[in-house]
Amino acid sequence: MSVIVEAFGLVFQPNVLLVILGSACFGMFVGAIPGLTATMATALLVPITFFMDPVPAIGAIVTATAMAIFAGDIPGALLRMPGTPASAAYVEDAYRMTRSGRSEESLGAALVFSAIGGIFGTIVLVTASPALAEVALKFSSFEYFWLVVLGLSCAVFVSPGSVTRGIISLLIGLFAATIGIDNPAGEPRYTFGNVELLAGVQFIPAMIGLFAVSEVLRSVVSRSERPPVPPSSGDGIFRSQWTNLKRYPVQVLRGSVLGTAIGALPGAGADIAAWISYAVSKRFSKQPQKFGTGHVEGLVEAGASNNGAVSGAWIPALVFGIPGDSITAIVIGVLYIKGLNPGPTIFINDPQLIYAVFIVFFLANIIMLPLGWVAIKSAGTILAVPERVLMPIILMFCIVGSFAINNSIFGVILMLIFGVLGFLMDENDIPIAPAILGLVLGPMLEQNFITSMIKADGSFLAFFERPIAAGLGLFTIAIWCLPLIAMMIARRKRTAPGPNAPD
């Protein structure tokens, strides 16, 4: 008990609280700008944390990333330019809600359910870390292969429009992912002797291009200003969320649980979590036809899921020093510098420090609510800015973000190429989101497939020999077959009455 009192003492000090507040604003700002991401926010904070005590140092990172992940939903909802691949899962719904004058409701839902997902993930982190980390350690390439396939299948099945168009988009993303040398064989592919292309297509410039630049292009080409967005009804940001919570309690819980569990796996993160949750939500929804048209249900579930995953990623990071995503990879480095060596002993050697970090997690998710409210209110005003002013500014931020990812002009070139590609895809009604997931998960898909085949000496059966892999594999195949079976049943129903009909 005294440990917890001590932990509270470490957190509730003026300078620590000030650092948390400062990094919250910083994270909110970085996340809300299309082109700047949560990972970048963390990387920018690292040199500053060198000069801090352990608790404010870790606190700054925890707070900034939680804010940035939520804030990534803001440009997604207002401009259809998701800030992170995790937000891309439900960007269509959030944007359609904005167009019909419900921007505050959609962003409010993103905010409240992000906070709920984050708090749920933190509770799991506090209470069940060692046990969950044990399960996560049972995942090898066979299990990850199926998980990635599951994530990709979900992206295709939930994409608005036909499944064929979803697959086309996915294949474009998967192709882009094959470029470069970071593949299992270490062979340069499609690089044409270019040194920069050896690094492959980095997904941040590609994502900025596909979503943001294509949107800018569209506004240039269409010439006419878009019809003004009806002003958001005075319902407020928080009021409608109580109704949403009462209407979708199962969805909130399911999203939080699934998100935290997927986040805890070292090889899977918030991106897969959001897509799988969105697909689960659609699958079990009473109104699946409404998904993608401005329906809040999927947003609630997937929003809770991706923030749950952010907390979940800390589980293997703290218990075994294994990064759950790109953010915790950076965090582990900071933990070592601060003498908080990750491992089971972290709970024994420095319990007051770890509990202080947990308290910061709760604090971060709680101050997210008022700060998010301010951010939504102020961000809403950009809808009133004429497009001819707004779009050049967005383009500028896009260029800065693409350049900053590697301090190289090559990022900007990539961004422009993918901007044109995204524009062409959108003109032909090919959804963009599956391409992004293909690009993010493509390398994982290949890596896990090839390494599994090497381990199994080329036997496909090995994908079903381990219990968890077999379960995931059968589940994935069942999802593929489900539409076929449904079609067959529908056909039999239609034809069956024919011969048996009374007359």
């Binding site: 963390t42 990387a43 690292v46 040199p47 060198f50 350690l137 049972k138 995942f139 090898s140 390439s141 066979f142 470069g180 040398i181 970071d182 299992p184 064989a185 270490g186 340069p188 040194v195 920069e196 050896l198 690094a199 492959g200 980095q202 070292p266 090889g267 218990v319 075994f320 020093g321 294994i322 990064p323 790109s326 990879a329 950076i330 965090v331 582990i332 480095g333 900071v334 070592y336 510098i337 003498g339 060596n341 990750p342 491992g343 089971p344 002993t345 590697n406 301090n407 190289s408 890596q447 090839i450 390494t451 090497i454 381990k455 000496d457 381990r466």
Partner: protein, 326 residues
């Protein structure tokens, strides 16, 4: 007309830069911020070493030292950017052992000769680790089993195909009189995923540095069997050397060096090397490296260049024998 204006602006810019440079070296180096290129991602070991040195050099030299991560392409992108920078001392960076491998693989023309090596600041010997569930308690029983079973029975992981630990394994197998691919290499995105996969039962051996497996060794999940160094490591006094365990003479350590592009002026090199040596001996650096379990290694100028050149030859030999060189 437009073109001419552009040309004259460019000429003016180049003129001022050149003038600024000559003025700078005549006056006192450094008089503006220094860029430190790290060819690997933020949060990794090389990044941490780069950042610690950046903050220490900043104090020592009195100008900001900014870390820039130029990642990707197995380190080729960052090393190229560093080698192609102006050799004026305002762009320095961390060069890693991959520079001795990438040109053998035919990925680039770059070699260590394209850099001025200031100092070697760290070296981590490779190791041999198995899962704690493994039936092998010592390296000689593992080696016996590897020799007894047919080729490909045992699997190993810890870097990409042709990566440094792949060569570490191949070099060890060669030194034991085995084929370099007698143990199948399973490529991974680095030591951490390799170790995770080993604990999950996916592979049998990870030949990465023991420092990279430290948290899992402390957690009782990973059993270290040997270190690929000449002497036992301070941080792991109970782990025998390869020579003690099986009589093999194979050693391999990954190192990190601070370098600049080839052709830096001598006075700049002297200033930088002195500042780096001071930073190396500082308490902050020593404590940081010990806390992370990283090995200390100091060699400056000529000596460091000799080590790098020797590794270049020995890695080239292993890569040729293992069929990884182009």
């Amino acid at each position: 007309m437009y073109k001419r204006t552009l040309m004259s602006i460019a000429a003016a810019l180049i003129g001022t830069t050149l003038f600024g440079m000559s003025a700078a070296s005549a006056q006192s180096y450094p008089d503006r911020p220094i860029q430190m290129i790290v060819p690997w991602g933020a949060g990794g070991g090389t990044d941490a070493v780069g950042r610690v040195f950046a903050s220490l050099l900043q104090e020592e030299l009195g100008v900001p030292v900014n870390v820039v991560n130029r990642t990707g392409g197995s380190g080729v992108v960052g090393h190229s950017a560093l080698a192609n920078a102006a050799p004026d001392g305002y762009t320095i960076g961390v060069m890693t052992i991959e520079i001795d491998m990438m040109h053998w693989q035919g990925l680039t023309e770059l070699t260590h000769e394209d850099f001025d090596i200031l100092a070697m600041v760290n070296a981590d010997p490779g190791g041999l680790m198995v899962s704690a569930d493994s039936e092998y308690e010592s390296l000689d029983t593992l080696l016996e089993a590897i020799k007894a079973e047919p080729k490909g029975t045992f699997k190993s992981s810890g870097t990409g195909q042709g990566g440094i630990w792949h060569l570490g394994l191949a070099g060890w197998l060669l030194s034991e009189g085995l084929e370099p691919d007698h143990v199948t290499w399973v490529p991974s995105q680095g030591a951490a995923p390799g170790i995770t996969d080993m604990v999950a039962g996916g592979v049998d051996i990870v030949p990465s540095s023991l420092a990279e497996g430290r948290s899992m060794i402390d957690a009782g999940r990973v059993r270290p069997l040997a270190t690929m160094s000449g002497e036992r490591q301070e941080a792991f006094p109970d782990v025998p050397t390869l020579n003690e365990a099986t009589g093999s003479d194979w050693t391999l350590a990954v190192w990190r060096t601070l370098v600049g592009p080839d052709g830096m002026p001598d006075d700049v090199k002297a200033t930088l090397t002195a500042a780096i040596e001071k930073a190396y001996n500082s308490e902050e650096y020593q404590t940081f490296m010990n806390d992370r379990g990283f090995g200390m290694r100091w060699a400056s100028g000529e000596e460091a260049t000799e080590i790098v050149a020797a590794d270049d030859a020995s890695l080239g030999e292993v890569m040729t024998k293992a069929g990884l060189a182009k």
